[in-house]
Amino acid sequence: MLNTHFKKALSAAVLSTAAAGSAQAATEISWWHAMGGQLGETVNTISKDFNASQSSCVIKPTYKGSYEEAMTAGIAAFRARQSPNIIQIFDAGAATIINAPGAAYPVADLLRENGQTFDSQDYIAGVRNFYADAEGKMIGMPFNASTPVLYYNKALLEKAGVKPPKTWEEFEAIAPKLKDAGVIALSQSHTPWIFSENFHSRHNLQLSDANNGFSGVATEIKYNNPEMIRHFDKMKSWKDNGWYGYYGSNWGDNRTPFEKKEVAMWLGSSGSFGGLKTTAKFDFGTTYLPYWNSITQGKEYNTFIGGAALFAFSGKDKAQNTCTADFFAYMSAPKTQVFWHKETGYVPITKAAYEAAQAEGYYNREPSAEVGIQQLSLPGGEWTKGYRLGFYVQIRDVMKREYDKLFNGDIDAAQAFSTIEAEGDKLLGKFAKTLGKQNVAKN
């Protein structure tokens, strides 16, 4: 009796000193991210779970503002040699970090050199390419991967007696009926992402020279093409007909009318699913991003991912890199991925995670949640892997500007795209110059 009590006490004491000892030795790593609001809370939950799951590493997530602000904070910190271990960088900023050899520790190397296994074939196809270098080596670890999908208000569509459109031709047929039913047919958030970048992927159109920027530093943007001009001319006429609502360049301003049932369909991100579940007080469905049958001749191509990836900064010590690798392994594990996928609507990044979500019957309960990943898994074409363009944050700014003017009726689509081409090429040329003499010491 006494003996067992003694043993218990002893083992408890040993355990607690061991825990204290390891807590002191735990390596702290930092993670700067751009996930505000509910997403930020989910990030905190993942970090807490990781910290609780082992005792040698402690991860500290910090919200650094919008995607752009987080990237700039990372840039400034790197220049001052104060960089965090992990930074979240969004799709438009990918070229900035991937084209700068020496800034990031490629995730493929990081995992292999720090006690984890890595096989890029574990990742789903649409995710694998986007953050990889010219040779296909993954530089960034995809984190919140999303893709544009169409959300529709079931009741409103039923009232008008229509089905969600597969193609833009079908959209033109149903839009007048929705208008007769007293709603605007469509709104859309983030025109550069959905109707420029993914428009090219969905129709397998080339987006820039140098193989969309993957095989070298691109200097020519190819947005000024007849398909784009025609699409935007159409959109402008849809807007004038009252079929399409353009509420400015902000994401939220275009989404709110859908939540308020003023708009029947909304093009957003598959990652909006979790948020819509709480804010939209009606039954909604999800389907693929429509395409022009007239352009693809009946063929359908995948979209590519948006969202952001995690990059490990170079120049950290071995213990920290091991922790970063541990965290990446934890984060891409099916259990974490399924949690993240279900909580937020971002797609699972590995095949194993996708299968795990299927196996537990998640998509039987929530068929809408599967649309994003199915669309990413559609057969690809020559130009559907993604893009890698420098100063792309500013190029998007140019697009936002011109699209505002276009929908406001100040300019037509041809003018908009000739400006986008001229300013885009100028920015690409400038970016190429910044890379001019690699590895020349600063100052």
Partner: protein
């Protein structure tokens, strides 16, 4: 002799008062309702009964500025922490600035020494370029000194501007020459002259500059974003910035707590300006001369 004050004069003044007061009134009144009520009914002009709930949740960080999900385990940085940091920033900035500027202005006005002119122009050159447009080089320097995530790193670079030095210089120049002559006759040295004569004379000036600088420090917006990576250094203005980001991304904020955070972010500097308005106005107007 004064002209008669007409009804119209008061009418115009009241129109001005209402125009200025209305936005903050709406923010305060709305903050006392629930988020759902505002989302459905629009912003409010009169008070609701959710005052204590809104503010206590916000201050303690038990409810975030975003709409919560069903399971309520959401916590944010408590507004108490942000309030504390904003106060440290406001006070630290104002006090530091006053001490450094007073001494520098004293040297510039009351001493003849080699290089004085050069120093003067170097200091005044800092009026030329606001922090917003030199922010990345500034950050690099602060970071290389290891001052990221410290109050020193937050405050010192902001002090690098000559506004207060300029105010003190103008003030010293208006101090009568006779005083320094009298001090000399008394055989008082520069330290005694400063402590016994100039400092007491500057009281109003110091109070005025303190108020102005406290407001400037409190309202810092861009610099703290870059300088702090630890949420325990968050200021109220940083909280405001985060709200705007999240609204742009399409998340619905908890309107009542957003308005409450705005109210918290303006109350301390507004109270200081109101309570010390006499000094504040006197100081402002005198520096203009």
């Amino acid at each position: 002799m004064r002209t008669k004050v007409s009804f119209l004069d008061h009418g115009i003044l009241w129109a001005g008062v209402i125009f200025l007061l209305m936005p903050l009134w709406i923010a305060f009144a709305s903050s006392t309702h629930t988020a759902e009520y505002i989302a459905n009914e629009g912003v409010q002009f009169w008070f609701g009964d959710n005052f204590i709930n809104t503010y206590s949740g916000l201050l303690n960080g038990t409810s975030s500025i975003f709409l919560e999900k069903g399971d309520n385990n959401v916590t944010g940085t408590g507004a108490w922490i942000m309030l504390k940091n904003s106060l440290i920033l406001g006070f630290g900035f104002a006090i530091g600035k006053i001490i450094f500027s007073m001494l520098a202005a004293y040297a510039i006005v009351y001493f003849r020494f080699p290089l004085a002119n050069l120093f003067f122009w170097i200091i005044f050159a800092s009026l030329l370029l606001p922090l917003e447009v030199r922010i990345i080089p500034s950050y690099e320097i602060v970071a290389s000194m290891g001052l990221v995530n410290t109050y020193t790193g937050l405050i010192l670079p902001l002090i690098a501007s000559a506004t207060a030095t300029f105010f003190f210089r103008q003030f010293y120049l208006s101090v009568p020459e006779e005083l320094i002559e009298a001090a000399r006759l008394d055989n008082a040295g520069p330290v005694r002259f400063f402590l016994d004569i100039l400092l007491p004379l500057s009281k109003t000036m110091i109070a005025a500059i303190f108020i102005i600088m406290f407001v400037v420090g409190w309202n810092q917006y861009l610099w703290p974003i870059l300088m702090t990576t630890d949420s325990s250094f968050n200021t109220l203005l940083l909280g405001i910035k985060n709200i705007v980001n999240v609204i742009d991304e399409g998340k619905i904020p908890a309107y009542n707590r957003v308005f409450a955070l705005s109210v918290l972010a303006v109350t301390p500097p507004v109270l200081i300006v109101i309570f010390f308005q006499r000094w504040f106005i006197k100081g402002l107007v005198e520096t203009e001369k």
